[in-house]
Symmetry: C2
Subunit: 386 residues, 2 copies
């Protein structure tokens, strides 16, 4: 079986890049990834983008970014699956290389939230939920996550600051990530005093929307020189699943089916069980999502994901390190780039380049991106090639 | 080499479906395609959509349509490349099946223009051109096509009604297509008297924006029973290429590089030369695009595409029949569905099911979709399996 490897990675700092355009952000990440891949020339570009048509008045991003990055002529397309857009683009790139019809695929995730402000951003984000049955009611993803969190806290008797572990871990890890938006650890008291966004979801239970771009160069292993500058990382599992778009259509709102299904398929493809995973990059755009992913994937039993976080089980030295470079909470949530950042960060860990955040001898990583409340889940297993 | 076949096709009538929602439109086409495929169960859904985030306030279409079509759980993603979105979705589905990781892929193209009206539609369509250098100037695709057409007419000494052949052919062929928006032939005088949209581009030089959905079920040939109800159609060539998004960045605005490159690659993959093509479905959203595609692909010499149309060379009995079921002009331009309609119509021809519009013994079809003025071009070769 052909091995599909990540030959190059690139990322920009995540933040409010008022002065950098969408195309320039993408270009920076692409340039770094191609350089990191030793100048390998891609034939196909897969753009992960969530909201540019509404946030930046720009559709048809594929050709725009290909041309702007000096790749005029190559195949270029945009992939969208809400918050999982970047991970979905990675999967399309993976499938294209696996087909044998594309030798080198470039995957770039990019988003520019600062092209709009305030309620325009909320309106744009709300297009990712069901327009006819959710958004039309004024339901925003944050308000919905708050309701989900409230129900979870009620059913599982979670104390008021029960979700603090997610934010504390993320911010502690953000300190060591030069591309993170927030590089400052927070204390339990800071979480406890945080302003409410939508009760019980506070400022630290949601990731900041931010600008950023991340890129990956994918190829088949045999197309690379055998002695590269760093350990190679391969994609050994890839899967995606869908649930209802509207949360109210679920049988059990507090179980993320797609999270379980896509992770299970990816693990099976990789020939691994959960115990063989060294780190997990989850989709902590809301802390309740992180808790539910820990449970659906199987790192915690149902109703106890928050407890695993509270007890330090997800810290760098915990049972299953999560958000190892700060996650979406501290790195920042860059929309369609989020899933690509996860892959870049996991690759950094597997290459042993994570500095103070390094998980010792990390060999395997599970990364999982969500679109909406796990309406979409895309899971990948990355492995260091020995 | 594995043969990838079109196991099922489905399409809705194209028109102003004020009373049908985006999801219901898609469902109708999906249902027909799956039925036509003998109930084959898809694992992955590739949605071709151009403008739903702006036209219908709906992103994250993949899971919405999968769930609505009773396919809850399957992988689902949206593919966007402006007017070529449907064709790009077909290509992603093709690559997925070719990879061996997906056995059955469902491709659906859908668009709902009537979710918005008037200038809101123009604003939405303008997101497909360069936001910073074209749309910001108030340049709409129609105005741009008019400038392109004017230059073409000047350089090639085309008379005032030189483009009439495209509209006359399309409308003549629309009569025989029960899914076409316009099923009425027009006369040369009708074209000559048509109202100007943007001089020299008149009402008949552009396709009507309309609602519609079309779907395809793709699989590997060996997964189908050997004796199906109709001749099988396989995808024997697939390629895409990109040019600058902004038209002003081209060296030669009057030559569609991507049209030539993608068609050339697809032909090469199929082991065919142009003479072996029995029909050509081009992207006649503007008649000037059709002329430039005929030239770039090689059916006409540069500057003479209009002449081929004028002389009847693209009619059902011509040298190279084009827009055989009415094209975008008479069938209607349903945005992200357009490229999928092309594939459905070509499959109908190759199966011998085109009725009055049947190209006798049609064995091979070239279909080509454009995003913008050939900023993206996606080409496929379909062949009847003997």
């Amino acid at each position: 079986m052909t091995e599909i490897v990540i030959a190059g990675i690139g990322q920009t700092e995540v933040g409010e890049h008022w002065e950098i355009s969408l195309r320039d952000l993408a270009f920076a990440a692409i340039q770094d990834a191609i350089k990191d891949a030793g100048g390998l020339k891609p034939q196909s570009l897969f753009v992960g983008n969530m909201l540019a048509p509404t946030l930046s008045n720009q559709a048809h991003l594929g050709v725009l970014l290909a041309d702007h990055a000096g790749l005029l002529g190559i195949e270029a397309v945009t992939i969208e699956a809400a918050g999982a857009s970047g991970a979905a683009a990675l999967r399309q790139g993976y499938l294209a290389v696996a087909s044998g019809m594309v030798d080198v695929a470039l995957v770039v995730g990019v988003e520019k939230f600062t092209d709009k402000i305030g309620s325009d951003v909320d309106t744009a984000i709300s297009t990712t939920s069901d327009a006819d049955f959710e958004a039309v009611q004024g339901m925003t993803p944050a308000a919905q996550a708050a309701l989900l969190m409230k129900r979870y806290m009620h059913e599982n008797e979670v104390p008021a600051d029960g979700f603090a572990g997610f934010a504390l871990t993320a911010h502690a890890n953000g300190v060591g990530n030069p591309c993170a938006m927030f590089r400052k650890a927070i204390k339990a008291e800071t979480y406890a005093k945080a302003e409410m966004v939508s009760d019980p979801l506070n400022m630290f239970d949601m990731a900041p929307n931010a600008d950023g771009a991340a890129a990956l160069v994918l190829t088949r292993r045999e197309l690379l020189p055998s002695n590269g500058p760093h350990p190679l990382v391969r994609i050994s599992g890839s899967a995606a699943a869908s649930d209802t778009l509207a949360l109210h259509d679920r049988k059990d709102m507090l179980y993320f089916d797609t999270s379980q299904i896509s992770a299970g398929k990816a693990l099976k493809q990789a020939g691994l069980i959960l115990d063989g995973i060294d780190l997990f990059e989850y989709h902590d755009v809301f802390s309740i999502y992180a808790a539910l992913q820990l449970e659906a994937v199987g790192f915690a039993i149902k109703g106890k994901g928050w407890k695993l976080a509270e007890e330090g089980g997800i810290s760098l030295k915990g049972k299953i390190p999560c958000a190892t470079m700060g996650g979406m909470k501290a790195r920042g949530f860059a929309g369609g780039a989020a899933g690509v950042y996860q892959a870049v960060e996991a690759a950094i860990q597997l290459r042993g380049q994570a500095g103070a955040n390094q998980i010792p001898d990390a060999k395997t990583a599970l990364i999982q991106s969500l679109g909406g409340p796990a309406s979409t889940a895309v899971s990948h297993i990355l492995m260091r090639i020995e």
